[in-house]
Amino acid sequence: MATDTDAITGGERPTDRDRSGNAVINWMESLSEAAYAYLLLLPAFALLTLIAFYPLISTFITSLREDRTRGAEPLGGFVGIDNYVDILTGNARLARQFLDVTVSGSFPFLELGTPFLQQALFVTIAFAVISVLFETIIGFGQAYVLDQEFRGRRWVRVAIILPWAVPIVIQGMIFFLMFQPEVGFGSDLMQWLGVFGANPLADSQDAFIIILVADIWKSSAFMALLILAGLQSVDRSLYDVARVAGASPWQRFKMITLPLVMPALLVAMLFRTMDAMRVYGLIESTAGCTTVPSLTCLVVEAMFGGTRIYATAAAVAFATALVIGLIISLYVVFFRDTEGGLY
């Protein structure tokens, strides 16, 4: 088709309809939606398979075998789910137990073998729930602040995000030192307030609170960042509509911001929950894993504690994943109906 009159035509022009570009691109374009999707997922899954799924399977097999603390061979024969049974019944070769309760006849029907905060499962869940709750609230507050226009916003934003950039060792060191009676003021202050005992870092309950605060300090920024990105993606004209319709700032938040930010918020909470359930470095560098045992603490101690109990470590890792999986399914069930929920 040769068009000649208009200047817009501007001489020769390849007909668009002739397929341009190389064969690969054309092949990709001609794929069906599903095939195209699989193609796009290929790189991610290739990487994940090599680096994640394969090791996990191997670890899972390990968890079904017997520990061997001596000899060149680190694992004994297959013992089925014995390792898991040991973990759940408080018989694992760990300094702190995954779970240590027995059913009793009288109220509250469960008897704690060790105090609540010395059982990894409870510590971990309590930690995850409380920290994520606070981080969400604070993160939302921070994101809101960062979403405003004001002079110096750039620097405030950096300041608020900065704790997230602190290496965990340092985060741990800060709070460790702060609550070292000799060095920091934290212990004295809290003791004076009547909140803590004399040696907070050695006391499970006090240390738990310190770790919570440390985690909230650092990780709120994570929430803030994601929520902020969500806030920024909201079409501003919707706020105009809402304002004219008579929505107060709170209503605008509740009816527009929140639901529209929900997908981002859910992702943030989901990953924060999973992260919190795997907390380790922070504990290790402040109070120590015996004072506040978390699930990952058990895994790491089993694997690197010096006693070679890899099978137990693997079993604890899988049990941890199972627990996280259960909690995440609660999310999925709970938020399934929310707009933008888990797809």
Binding site: E66, D67, R68, T69, R70, G71, A72, P74, G76, N91, R93, L94, A95, R96, Q180, P181, E182, V183, A198, N199, P200, L201, A202, D203, G288, T290, T291, E301, F304, G305, G306, T307, R308, I309
Partner: protein, 453 residues
């Protein structure tokens, strides 16, 4: 990178402290030079792969390298506290087969036996590691403050006081001397408690984890004696030091420890003492240099081995009771995966040379595995340590190693956890030790079962 290393280099892991003395500019003495002087082939050069100092993290590093069968490093520097598990896992080389006989002999005969024990295969007694330097626990005290409070410390250097005497003296010095703390030590829930600071106290009370010094290195079939009265009393004493009003306190002792010791390890507990704010302090050899210099306390620093409550003769078990000193220190292990075994063996042999040991002592203050050599060192070089050679001598004689077996790390965690709980008063001492005994029995059973079949 990796593969293309110079021929003749032998890679050895070490922290920056050792790296710092390995080489030197010009004619300054260095370990490398000392090794060559000791007869190491001039073509062989030791290259240090620096690793972190923290013992736990270092163990992880060694474990992942050996688990993966990776070399270099050709020589791993391993804590005497966790060498045996590696030996039991066959991740070491039997040095009996590689070192020359006279070297073996020297190690057997001249080396501090306590540390050599941590380098042997517990079942076969073969030497699988070469002790590089031992470390020992000492009681440091402020002679001036105690003297001012009217107590004579004249013979403490030769013969440590009893705990009771110690506590009274420290308590008085604390009141008189206007310092905040009496005795600072390590009681955090960590390896240092079970291996060392508590091990010392327990031993000085005539107690033991596994029924005496004979049962230290083979797990599986040995008595559990942590719920023994001596052990419980040792804890009660410590508890009294922390809080004399505790129902489990022992009348005769005074409150001399800050309660914060339950969350202190070496660094934190040294701080107040170093700052002049405590009367007495338990720590490792390096603390002498830190606090004994002229800028610090100088001559006012007194050093002794642990006080005791039950003398060795009165002790129920073998090898416990009386004054004592916990054993730390590092061994050198030849990686079974090295492709430079010959060269590495040469390096190891050179390390057994006295000149090398003295060089290390003079440059870094690390005790020679042949402890008598301390007296031969140049006093100017080793600083304050020179004043305390006698105490070092005695400490090496009374050194008590931790009971390292393949399951020691596991048991250690149980121990420090319970001991710390008891120190904090969260559990009564006998209850804590009862629980501990139960857990330890379980652990021993597992080992027995696993290694029985």
């Amino acid at each position: 990178l990796g593969g293309a290393r110079e021929p003749g280099t032998v890679v050895m892991t070490a922290a920056t402290d050792v790296e710092g003395i390995m080489y030197s500019d010009g004619d300054e003495p260095s370990v490398q030079q000392a090794l060559w002087d000791a007869g190491l082939d001039e073509d062989i050069r030791v290259e240090i792969q620096t690793v972190v100092s923290d013992s736990d993290q270092r163990m992880q590093g060694a474990q992942s390298a050996l688990q993966a069968g990776r070399a270099p490093p050709d020589i791993h520097m391993m804590d005497s506290g966790w060498t045996i598990p590696f030996i039991l896992r066959e991740q070491t080389t039997n040095l009996d087969e590689h070192l020359s006989d006279d070297v073996i002999e020297r190690v057997e005969n001249e080396y501090l036996q306590a540390i050599v024990e941590t380098a042997r295969h517990p079942e076969t007694d073969e030497l699988h590691a070469l002790p590089m330097f031992p470390d020992l626990g000492f009681m440091l005290y402020r002679q001036d403050l105690i003297e001012d409070a009217g107590h004579d410390t004249g013979d403490w250097a030769d013969e440590p006081p009893s705990w009771e005497e110690f506590s009274t003296a420290v308590s008085d010095a604390m009141t008189e001397g206007d310092v905040d703390y009496g005795f600072t030590t390590q009681a955090d829930a960590y390896e240092g408690l079970s291996c060392c600071s508590f091990n010392e106290v327990m031993t000085s009370w005539g107690g033991a984890y596994f029924g005496g010094a004979d049962n230290l290195f083979v797990a599986g079939d040995r008595p559990i004696t942590v719920d023994d009265d001596h052990v419980v009393d040792a804890i009660r004493m410590m508890r009294t030091f922390i809080d004399e009003d505790d129902p489990n306190a022992i009348e005769e002792y005074d409150e001399i420890c800050p309660s914060a010791i339950v969350q202190w390890s070496e660094q934190e507990s040294l701080g107040p003492f170093q700052g002049g704010n405590a009367v007495a302090h338990r720590n490792w050899t390096f603390a002498m240099a830190e606090t004994g210099s002229e800028e610090a306390f100088g001559e006012d620093l007194g050093v002794t081995t642990m006080p005791y409550a039950v003398s060795a003769d009165d002790a129920e078990f073998d090898g416990v009771g009386g004054t004592t000193s916990a054993l730390g220190g590092w061994n050198l292990v030849l990686s079974p995966y090295t492709d430079r075994r010959e060269e590495a063996v040469q390096v190891l042999e050179a390390f057994t040379d006295e000149g090398v040991m003295l060089t290390i002592l003079e440059l870094a203050g690390f005790l020679p595995p042949i402890t008598e050599l301390v007296t031969e060192a140049d006093e100017d070089e080793i600083g304050p340590m020179a004043r305390y050679t006698e105490q070092i001598e005695r400490a090496s004689e009374t050194a008590i190693p931790r009971p390292v077996t393949d399951v020691w790390p596991e048991q250690s965690a149980l121990i420090y956890q319970e001991v710390n709980a008891a120190f904090r008063g969260a559990k009564a001492p006998d209850e804590a030790m009862g629980d501990l005994a139960e857990r330890l029995e379980g652990s021993e059973r597992e080992v027995a079962a696993q290694n029985g079949d």
